[in-house]
């Protein structure tokens, strides 16, 4: 049985294809259209998924969509009724798009699908899964567990913003939900907005900024904004927020509570902004920990699965993992709405159609390398057309050359095999660097990524040696757990260094691997496994042979605001538009020094700041 899952029309459109319950392909539309968080119907991602399996759309048994438009419309109406007459302006703006498009999503989908397969029998083949069921299915079904408790948290789906479910074999039942407007994701986004970042993409920045501050506002948040119960359930005081009735996240009462207006996105970050980030992060962790502890007691299961946008908060995930309420934790790598496409397909297969589920040791995500790959001939064609100068080497030679360059302090674009599904680059489309360098974090941020210097980088480490370098006792293949760098590898701060505040601490060399050690001694670890990514594993092994260090900086292959590169052409453009020193694509090796400086082209203007 073949099921195509789709997410679209809000943000992060994606398609995923499963064949007899096995995940065959999955990709986000933004990678093809080069529009970050692209919300359009994912026709490129669908075409890719079908081509990966050698299928036509008419060969597919069902198409599953990741949420239910009517239910969302019901929420819209009831929310406006609840707050009326406030919110009329927002209502007036929302109504046309609903009456024109969103209410007719099924018809819209049918027309789109029919244009690809004119005889497509949409009435029987088109299925809809609730938003949080899609998230829960994306978390449970590909997990390595026979049974598990499932927690999903995000901004909002139809009504649910947080849900708990129990998965057992092929059964998955949602048993509790917290409904809109009470939302942990929207609370976090409110602070993202208030600290001057862009909602729906700046949340990572708030999380990265948090360790530079102190959680001095946490009690104020708990006293005024959120009524948090012992079991982790909560309600938000809507008198401080604007998202139900207006066009912003917070209102003037929120400003009064924290003593100032929202930070202007163009202005410099101050200690107060870092303290706000630390405070909302602390509150978020407290909510998640209370939820997971009560879920562990109620479910009795030793296993926890997580998904939903809040599950991308890897600092909170790390705390849940260390908290010990659950013995094992598995997080869907595409935890955001893109993963809903996969979840909808899996929910259709197991929950709706009742097909059996088989757990075969490891998880079913294949390292999340579910996107397109390019044969060597295609890579050479694209590079030649782009005017690149390259050498063709064996895989072993490529690995040795890249390891050598990295050990000498070069930054390298690494484009190998299938593209990752989800927001993280995991060694398929990555920029790599030497984590031992004290200047690499700043250099990569400013010269390659063109983003704020405080943004931390994550380490990839050989899975076999992860516990020698980090306080981690489980696998973290999807870079979704934060753990401390081993105490023995961290360096004590001097008194002078300790007296520094906030961003001044950025330049302190904190460990043997300073470029991936965040200000609080933590790191967002990716364990690299030979069975899912043998060439990246071999590269780390070669780097260790030269340096004694089995760790590399791994950041996504893109510049600020750009979707991660998809094709060799995208990669070459990024290579020539940044100060990357080397690029390894398949068996092709490119050195910046061998390219005419006149070919360098700054393309930053093409992407909006995130």
């Amino acid at each position: 049985m073949r099921i195509l899952g789709l997410s679209a029309f809000y943000h992060d459109s994606a398609a995923a294809l499963i064949v007899d319950g096995r995940v065959v392909a999955a990709a986000q539309e933004e990678r093809f259209t080069r529009i970050k968080h692209d919300a359009e119907y994912p026709e490129n991602a669908i075409a890719y998924c079908l081509s990966e399996a050698g299928l036509r759309l008419s060969d597919v048994d069902h198409v599953a969509f990741y949420d239910k438009p009517f239910l969302k419309f019901e929420r819209l109406l009831e929310t406006y009724l609840t707050f009326a007459p406030r919110g009329f302006k927002s209502f007036q703006m929302a109504l046309p798009i609903w009456l024109k498009e969103k209410l007719f999503q099924k018809d819209h989908l049918r027309k789109k699908l029919q244009s690809m397969a004119p005889d497509f029998d949409w009435q029987s083949r088109l299925l809809f899964a609730e938003h949080h069921l899609s998230h829960a299915a994306s978390a449970f079904y590909p997990s390595p567990f026979d049974d598990a408790a499932v927690l999903t948290m995000d901004g909002v789906g139809e009504w649910a913003t947080t849900s708990t479910a129990i998965g057992n074999g092929a059964e998955l039942n949602i048993d509790k939900e917290i409904h809109f407007p009470h939302s942990l994701g929207l609370l976090y986004s409110a602070f993202t907005y208030y600290t001057g970042f862009k909602v729906n993409s700046g949340e990572y920045k708030v999380m990265g900024l948090a360790p530079y501050g102190e959680p001095v506002f946490a009690q104020k948040i708990l006293d005024h904004l959120i009524d948090l119960k012992q079991d982790g359930s909560f309600r938000l005081d809507q008198s401080y927020f604007d998202y139900c009735v207006g066009l912003t996240m917070t209102n003037s009462r929120f400003d009064d509570l924290f003593g100032a207006a929202r930070r202007n996105p163009e202005s410099l970050l101050e200690q107060r902004d870092m303290d706000l980030a630390a405070s909302i992060q602390a509150v978020c962790e407290e909510v998640v920990l209370r939820l997971t502890r009560s879920l562990a007691k109620e479910s009795g299961s030793p296993n926890l699965c997580l998904a939903g946008g809040v599950a991308l908060n890897c600092v909170a995930n790390g705390k849940v993992s260390r908290d010990g309420a659950f013995e094992n934790i598995w997080i869907q790598p595409a935890a955001g709405d893109a993963g809903g496409a996969l979840g909808a397909a899996l929910a259709a297969y197991h929950t709706f159609l009742g097909h059996e589920r088989r757990v075969e040791g490891a998880d079913a995500m294949a390292g999340s390398y579910l996107g397109p790959s390019y044969p060597q001939a295609e890579i050479e064609t694209q590079l030649t057309e782009a005017g690149a100068t390259y050498s063709v080497l064996s895989e072993a030679e490529i690995i040795e050359a890249v390891a050598e360059a990295l050990a000498e302090g070069d930054s390298v674009g690494w484009f190998q095999g299938r593209m990752e599904f989800g927001p993280r680059a995991l060694g398929g489309r990555s920029i790599l660097g030497d984590p031992r360098s004290p200047t690499m974090q700043r250099d990569l941020n400013i010269k390659v990524k063109y983003r704020e210097s405080f943004r931390p980088f994550a380490p990839s480490v050989l899975a076999e040696q992860a516990s020698d370098w980090f306080e981690i006792s489980c696998d973290s293949p999807y870079m979704l757990l934060v753990a401390d760098v081993k105490a023995a590898r961290r360096w004590r701060m001097t008194e002078a260094e300790q007296s520094l505040f906030g961003i001044e601490k950025l330049n302190i060399v904190r460990s043997e691997i300073p470029a991936v050690t965040h200000i609080d001694g933590s790191a967002r670890v990716q364990t690299v496994h030979a069975d899912t990514n043998p060439s990246y594993h071999a590269l780390l092994t070669a780097f260790q042979a030269r340096t004694g260090c089995p760790v590399l900086i791994n950041t996504s292959f893109n510049i600020r605001g750009e979707p991660i590169v998809c094709t060799p052409t995208d990669a070459f453009r990024c290579f020539m538009g940044t100060e990357l020193d080397m690029l390894a694509i398949g068996n092709c090796l490119l050195r910046k020094s061998e390219h005419d400086p006149a070919m360098r082209a700054d393309y930053r203007e093409q992407f909006l700041l995130d």
Partner: protein, 50 residues
């Protein structure tokens, strides 16, 4: 359109939300005018919750 109306009716029945019906009918009437008077519909929100 007929299939849409049938499905929406089934939705209201399943959700036991018949009280929404008068609001929806009024909305369809006045909203229709609003839609017809506009060129394109663009989501204006900072977070696409609606």
């Amino acid at each position: 359109m007929l299939s849409f109306i049938i499905e929406f009716w089934a939705f209201l029945r399943a959700r036991k939300k018949f009280w929404l019906l008068p609001i929806i009918v009024m909305m369809a009437l006045f909203g229709g005018l609003l839609v017809l008077s506009q060129g394109s519909a663009v989501a204006p929100f900072i977070y696409t919750i609606f």
